[in-house]
Every structure is written in structure tokens, then in C-alpha cells.
Symmetry: C2
Subunit: 376 residues, 2 copies
């Protein structure tokens, strides 16, 4: 399902194509997050316009509402949300383990209470794979335990081992009930911030029959350098020919650094979440539209951006919409940030294809970091 | 500025063209309300796509934020919001008088407190015209007192007389400071629910030098038949060749009935406001998307609708977005309802042009009213 078109000569970056039943996806790729069957404030048509062909859905949220059986009837998640492209669903592990006081974990799985109505639910590797088969995404994820940060070595090791046992159970369930022609099941590397564990986990998951492998348990509050270290520890042990997905990452700079270290896929709520809160990406760094400096700025937020927002609306107008708490602000801010991410990945891919990855990185950082604006 | 292309033979309806500096507007016309320089949840591009060429801005809100002087600098309201079509601004009268406990009225004008920061402000006929000149809409409105409902005869008469004196002051200010080549100042008929007052007010405003005339003081809580009566009392005394604008109206049936009685222009927050709250217009009546009957309805909300929402998304998906409080629901609901309004006015105009106005009304009511669904 994955073909590498070009491997960089000066770093571990690769440019490739990920083939799914619903489209060929150019990598490196950023997947916008559509938690509840919608990328917040954005239409499916807009995602297409921006060039996104693969988005992410959250199994945890979709399981609770509208539920796998309804999605199954609706023509899977794609049919339900009227999305023509491909979808990846996470396993719900990250969300369930974030519940802390509202979940109980054992060897077999996790019991938790619904945040919607307090009802009791249970996720096991088997039930999560079944839910993801019903939801019907092109790429589905094994059920893992996402260990918190910080996390002591003992717990990190124990949790990682269980994640490996769960991975085998996921594969087994998928072997019986899934259809590898319609869905690809990815495994997940854990191991917290411990290099030895990351290596063991990468080797273990690499040895299993997954067509793609994710690095999980990052972006949980650890310092940036520990995230890069987790990538660096895992990548050498992952099969070169399989796609590598760094879960929940990230900021533009994080994604560039991870691509250089050999990662192909990303997802993150950042561009839409901080977009709604006033932070907008520009070629000169992140800005915060709240700033009074934008009150009479009648030019676009980023003169170098060709998106529908920058072509039509001024910084002053966006600031007004933000201050007036208008829904249109959420739309325009989210759209602009997602467009920025899409352009970033497209340009990064171009750079890899022409073997100028490190040069691209230097140039981007120079312009982007030298102008961090508003402390946004 | 107004040309009647066809007057119905069986009722008072007219189909015409309203010429503004920023486009020719086909009448009857419904103007979406862009209170704070945005039609809530909808982009300017979407308004264009739907065929809207004239939208409404609220002087009261725009005066408080971002303020007339900023709008003046931004290339007027059109430049500020990146809108290529025409705009009408109301005078702020309706909003100021709605403040009740937070305003004080005298012969010269009204003092009120800002809902944003509690600061004191004052509107006079002169200041409101000056603000509207700075805001720069194509059509601006005289400053009137919108009497509440119910309202006793004595107060209604006194308030109406003052509105007439204010109308003369508005005209005087516009004569000195305005540019009739760039803006048209409309007068407003008042008179509450009293037929004699409505007649006197219509005659008085008709005798003044306004290129268009509005019927105000309706849609303030009075029964529907009193609103129609206010229209019927005023219309015979209004110049046939000038556009007539029924302020703050209305529901689909109200607009059809008013067009039949000789009205050309409408504005109302209804399609966007109730759209956000789950009420959607269909050719078979209004529905409420909350209803469990839509949980597994994988068809469009209105099979007869050709809008971007109905072509792509199902009732079940819209219901899910609504229940999940997703921003996308507000977008899609508002879009669909505005599209419905636009189609309604376009079809009504076609009916007038082919002199089948009453036939159109019968057919619409038959299909629409016979199916009022969900008590929405």
C-alpha cells in the first residue's frame, strides 16, 4: 500500500504514495482531525479544495455518538459524512486513557464512563477492532495504552508489554472479521520516554503483520526533544518500506523535524483548535489575531498565502470577527491554518523529491522562527 | 433607482429592479442580516453563490464595534468585509429602542449604554446619518422610533410624530453631508397597530424626498394579521414607483403575503437564527432536525432542494452535527435556510413576471402548510 518515490540523501525523509481504497495519498501527509465526523468548522468540500484526501476520525467519540451500528448503516463513516476521500480512525486509546478518573484498566481492556450520559462502556482490543470495522475507515489503528507523561520506567514497561499483547489480539480479530482489501490495520509503538523501551517496542511491532506502523505515546506533554528522541529510537527498527505515522503531532516545526527523522504521516488538532482561539500561521511565524496591531491592518494576515481567506479578507476584519465572537471567525481561522499545513506538507514533499530537504528546513526555520510574533 | 417590470393583475405584487451603486437587485428581494459585518456562519462567497446581491448591516452594532471611523478607513463596510455586492444599513433605531432599561429618549435623540463596555452613547437623527455615511452602505435608513407592542394610542401618535420630525432632520443632514449618487436614504412609516396613524404616517413619509420607503414598527410581537393590516393601511398612500421595504419580516408565508400586498424588500434574522437552533425550511414545511425521526434518515432534508447541503449531506448527518454542537451544523443549517429564502423569492418573482402570483401563493401554502412538521 505504500511506495517510496524518493528517499532524501542528507536525512531520513521520504516522499511516497500511500494507496487506499479511496484515493492515493501523497506523503509526507498531514491528516486534519475530524473528531465527531467533522473537521471542526470546515466542510468536506473545503477539505477537498485544499487538497486533503485523508482525514482522521476518533473511534472513541464516534463509538459514543452516533455509534458504529448507525455508521455501518449510513454507508460507513465516509457515507455518513459525505466524504469522498480516505479516512483513518484512531483506536480510542488516547481518549480513553485521558479520562483518568473515569476509567479502569485491566489486562483484558478498559472500562469507562461516557462523558455524554454517564453510561458504562468497555473497550477491548477485540471490541475496538470490531467498532473500527463497522465505522469502516481505510486505515484503522490497534488498541494501545497511551502512557501518560511523566511515567516511571516500571509502569512504562508494563504498559508497553500489554500494548504488544493487545496488538496481537487486534491482529487476530482483524484476521477473522476484517477485510485487508478494504482496511489496513496499523500497529502502534509505545515505550514512553525510555530509549530502550522504544527500541524494544519498535522491534516487536515491526515483527508483527502490520502494513503501517505508528509511533504513539508522544505529544502527551513531554519536552520537544524527548518526542524527537522517541522517533529517533524507533525509526531505525521499523521496516523501511512501511509508512510511519507519528500520532498527535504537531506544530509545523515538529512535523518538519519528524519528516527529517523518517516519519510519513501526522495528525493534530492544533491548526483547527488554536485557529479557533485566534492563533494563525503565517510564513513569518504564528500570530495572534487578538493583537491591537491588527485593528487597522487592512492587508491579508499573510501576504505570502494564496488561500481563500487571505485573498478576500483582511487581518482587521478577522480581528473584528474574533472580538465579536462570530462563527465566521472560526471558519476562516480554521480554513487558513489547514491551508497553511497543506501547503507546508506539499512544499516539504517537493523539497524531498528534489533532494533539498535540509535546505528547505533551514529556509523555513529562518523565516518562521525569526519572526515569532505576539508570543502566539 | 427603482424600476417596476411587471405589476400583478390580481394583487398588489410587483417585480422590479432596484439599482444600487454596487449592483442591480431583482425584487421582491430578501436581504440576509449581517449584524456585525457578517451574516452569521456564512461567507461572503457563499452569499454570492446563492445569488444574494444585497445584504443588511446593523448601524447600532457596527457603530459600537468596529466603529464608523474604522469602517470609513477600511473602504467602508463593503471594503471591510470583502463584500462585492450592495448593502443596506438600518438606522439602529430598532436596537436602541429594544434596550428598554438602558436608554433614555428625548426630542433630540436617544442616550444609551453600550452592551459591550457600559459606556454612554447618544444617537440623534444627525449622528445616525453621519454614522451611516461613514459606514457607507448603498441604502441607509432614517432614524426612527420603533414603538413597542402593545403601545397605547397616545404614545403611538406622539412617537410617530417625533419619527416624522426626525425624518426631516435626517433628510436635512443627508442633504448637507451625504451623496445621493452613492447612497439612497429611505424613510420609515410608523403608527403602531392604529390604522389612522399608519395612513397619516404613510402620507407624511410619502410626501418627503425619500427614494424608497420602509414600513417599520412591525414584527415586534404583534399578531400576524395586525402586521398585514399595517401593510394594507400604508401601501395605498405610498408612491407606486418607489420601493417598499417591510422591516424585520419575515417567515416565508409572511413575505409572500406582504408581496401580494405590494411590498418589495424584506430582511429578517429568522432563517439564520432558527437555522442555528435546528429549524430547517423545506418545501413541505419547517422541520426540526433534533427529531429522532431523522436519526437514521440518510436522505437529504429536502429532496426538492438543490442546495450544496442537500446535495451532499443527509438529515441523519445534520442531526448528528446538531446534537454534537458542531460548528459545521450552524454553517449547513444557515446555508440551507438562506438558500431556501433565495429560491422562494426567485420563484415568487417568476410568478409575478408571468402574472401567476396568486396561483403561486396557493400552491406554496398548500404544500408548505399541509405538512407543518415537528411543530417547528
Amino acid at each position: 500500500m505504500f511506495k517510496i518515490l524518493k528517499a532524501a540523501s542528507d536525512c531520513a525523509a521520504r516522499a511516497g504514495v500511500l494507496t487506499t481504497p479511496h484515493g492515493a495519498i501523497e506523503t509526507p501527509v498531514f491528516m486534519p482531525v475530524g473528531t465527531q465526523a467533522t473537521v471542526k468548522a470546515i466542510t468536506q468540500q473545503e477539505l477537498e479544495e485544499m487538497g486533503y484526501g485523508l482525514i482522521l476520525g476518533n473511534t472513541y467519540h464516534l463509538y459514543l455518538r452516533p455509534g458504529p451500528s448507525l455508521l455501518d448503516k449510513a454507508g460507513k463513516l465516509r457515507g455518513f459524512m459525505g466524504w469522498n476521500g480516505a479516512i483513518l480512525t484512531d483506536s480510542g486509546g488516547f481518549q480513553v486513557f485521558s479520562l483518568k478518573d473515569f476509567r479502569k484498566i485491566d489486562e483484558d481492556g478498559v472500562s469507562f464512563k461516557s462523558y455524554l450520559d454517564g453510561t458504562e462502556h468497555r473497550f477491548t482490543p477485540e471490541s475496538v477492532i470490531e467498532a473500527q470495522i463497522a465505522i469502516g475507515a481505510d486505515i484503522i489503528m490497534a488498541f494501545d495504552e497511551c502512557a501518560p507523561y511523566p511515567c516511571d520506567l516500571g509502569y512504562a514497561a508494563q504498559s508497553m508489554e500489554r500494548t504488544h499483547r493487545w496488538a496481537a489480539r487486534c491482529l487476530e480479530t482483524f484476521r477473522h472479521k476484517g477485510d485487508p482489501g478494504r482496511q489496513a490495520l496499523f500497529g502502534i509503538v509505545q515505550g514512553s520516554v525510555y530509549p530502550d523501551l522504544r527500541r524494544v517496542s519498535a522491534e516487536t511491532v515491526a515483527s508483527m503483520d502490520f502494513p503501517g506502523i505508528a509511533i504513539g505515546g508522544v505529544s502527551v506533554g513531554e519536552p520537544q526533544e524527548l518526542m524527537f528522541e522517541a522517533v529517533e529510537q524507533a525509526v531505525p527498527y521499523l521496516p523501511a518500506g512501511k509508512p510511519r505515522y507519528l500520532m498527535g503531532v504537531g506544530a509545523p516545526v515538529d512535523m518538519i523535524e519528524a519528516v527529517i527523522r523518517g516519519v510519513d504521516m501526522f495528525d493534530c488538532v492544533l491548526p483547527t483548535r488554536i485557529g479557533r482561539n485566534g492563533s494563525l500561521y503565517t510564513s513569518r511565524g504564528r500570530i495572534n489575531i487578538k493583537g491591537s496591531r491588527y485593528a487597522e491592518d487592512f492587508g491579508p494576515i499573510d501576504p505570502d498565502c494564496g488561500c481563500a481567506v487571505c485573498r478576500r479578507y483582511s487581518a482587521a476584519y478577522l480581528r473584528h470577527l474574533y472580538k465579536a465572537r462570530e462563527i465566521l471567525y472560526c471558519r476562516l481561522g480554521s480554513y487558513h491554518n489547514l491551508y497553511f499545513y497543506r501547503q507546508l506538507m506539499a512544499r516539504l514533499r517537493e523539497a524531498i523529491l528534489s533532494d533539498r530537504t535540509m535546505e528547505f528546513r533551514e529556509r523555513f526555520l529562518e523565516q518562521y522562527r525569526s519572526n515569532e510574533i505576539d508570543g502566539a
